[in-house]
Symmetry: C2
Subunit: 360 residues, 2 copies
Amino acid sequence: MTTQKLEIMKCTHKKQKPESSALEFGKYFTDHMFIMDYSEEKGWYSPRIIPYQPLTLDPAAMVFHYGQTVFEGLKAYRSEDGSVRLFRPEENFKRLNQSSDRLSIPPIDEAQMLAYLKELIRIDKDWIPTMPGTSLYIRPFVIATEPTLGVAPSRNYKFMIILSPVGAYYKEGINPIGIFVEDQYTRAAPGGTGTAKTAGNYCAAYKAQERATANKQAQVLWLDGMEKKYVEEVGSMNVFFKLNGEVHTPGLSGSILEGITRKSVIELLKSWDIPVFERRISIEEIVSASKSGTLEEVFGTGTAAVISPVGELLWKDHKIVVNNNETGALSKRLYTELTGIQTGEQKDPFGWTVRLEDEE
Amino acid sequence: MTTQKLEIMKCTHKKQKPESSALEFGKYFTDHMFIMDYSEEKGWYSPRIIPYQPLTLDPAAMVFHYGQTVFEGLKAYRSEDGSVRLFRPEENFKRLNQSSDRLSIPPIDEAQMLAYLKELIRIDKDWIPTMPGTSLYIRPFVIATEPTLGVAPSRNYKFMIILSPVGAYYKEGINPIGIFVEDQYTRAAPGGTGTAKTAGNYCAAYKAQERATANKQAQVLWLDGMEKKYVEEVGSMNVFFKLNGEVHTPGLSGSILEGITRKSVIELLKSWDIPVFERRISIEEIVSASKSGTLEEVFGTGTAAVISPVGELLWKDHKIVVNNNETGALSKRLYTELTGIQTGEQKDPFGWTVRLEDEE
């Protein structure tokens, strides 16, 4: 793939930025966005940064009808000294291409995507909030745009990146959530699209979330789609269990999203010499561990919350209280370490962070 | 729901209509479209027929990210005398609302939708082709439009109907197709979205279609998502087997789309006193029936092809030839009867067709 000249068209009027304290998730967007087109003849072409603006699409555009789309989510952090850091962005672009492969979408040059993203962030750098816990959420995504109703991969796409300043996930300190173990609805089955970050996986979960809310729980714990027996993931996070001093997380079964925070947590635990296992974990085993007193901590991992401690699990008639509904020591340590690395407050022995300034 | 005044804004310049012989599926669209908006405060509001035109949506519109969308597909036929018929349209709007329920989308008044559709077709009536086998394909769909990235049901939607004149499915007479029995990829699992007509189910199938094509077969036969043992559906059609004079089709397992042509075929067969059974059918059973000579016919049913005879099935090492790769007598009879009713060439003892003129 040849490097194409990036066209930059800046906005003439900048939007008013929301107060850091008023930020919500994914509600405000910055002044600019990145966009690039694809056709069978040209491949990916015409990369450009333009003022944030509506898309104009034919009502027959395939994304509306057959859902051929993939996305990513990552964050940029600005530290006190003004430096800007991304957390393992190359992992996100690698996963975007893996998702695209499952959805029959043409891949994009990963290094080039990162270069475009950096340029976009430089232009909208003033939008990155600095209050503790805040960040700039980055949403790269691809949509199928060919205006025809035949059920087949699209011959045209748009790749875009939009940016949204987001508030602290934990406004009043890190706190455990309750989760509802879903035993009716299915998130994903082997051979399906569960490992891909694609739109259809997310709307399919709304019904289960309704049930969780009706049962006074914050999120859903998904079981496997075949037997409803093995633990898969929490809401849109991966899940970890601390059992008798060891950490266990569901293995990549073919229907679980390969989280980048999940991967980082595993690497961190190994570096701390804490035993960590990726394997099949049945919900029955968790109930037993709770009864025998070996279930020490449960937490979710994901880009939004980083670490989300679980204080309670509700599965059928079983109500499991974890660590007295308090944030466990390991959850806290992981949260502090990971967010420290992400924001630049702590050293980064793994070389996970990418500083925007390093290449200016 | 109160009836709202339908606003009609006609186009000033009509597009040139394609030749009937040059029609493809879902490529050309008529001069007008129907659109209506939804907000939590107003419900569905502002129904209008306007010139066919691009949609303008925020790049953060939820449909691009979380796939909350449902659709339908049905056809209008124009007969020699100029009368226009719809085939069981109330079934489509009922199913649209069922799909919407699974996807947490607010329902639409079914009778009102049908009234809007009729008005739209009246305005674009000249677009309905009359050559044998041609029709006007109708695509009603709903998309989530709220511009925010939180993973939750949208608070805003658009409901639209677009129309596309389509050519004959069988240009050279009804002909059997070969199908590839997919044993790796999964279309749907119990508890998933398989019974809903939603975008994510369709793009998820592209990889399997690639494998079918690579194996020189026209379409995919899906097996159940749990054991890859039981037959579910063909491509985007339901599937029927004639075994020893009886007709068998997979029961509605919770992961199969409830086809309207499927339902009509079952009702037709019953009216002809041909035994028809809805039940679990394993692919092993079909292999055995082929060996013992009791597999007489296989056919798919759907809006596009109406009846699609299957001449060959490829499953692992088994190659099953059905009825000497020729269209069976029952497939032909069903095709003739159903298309006859749809176009008005035959009597409609079931009251399935809705004539536009009846209410003018």
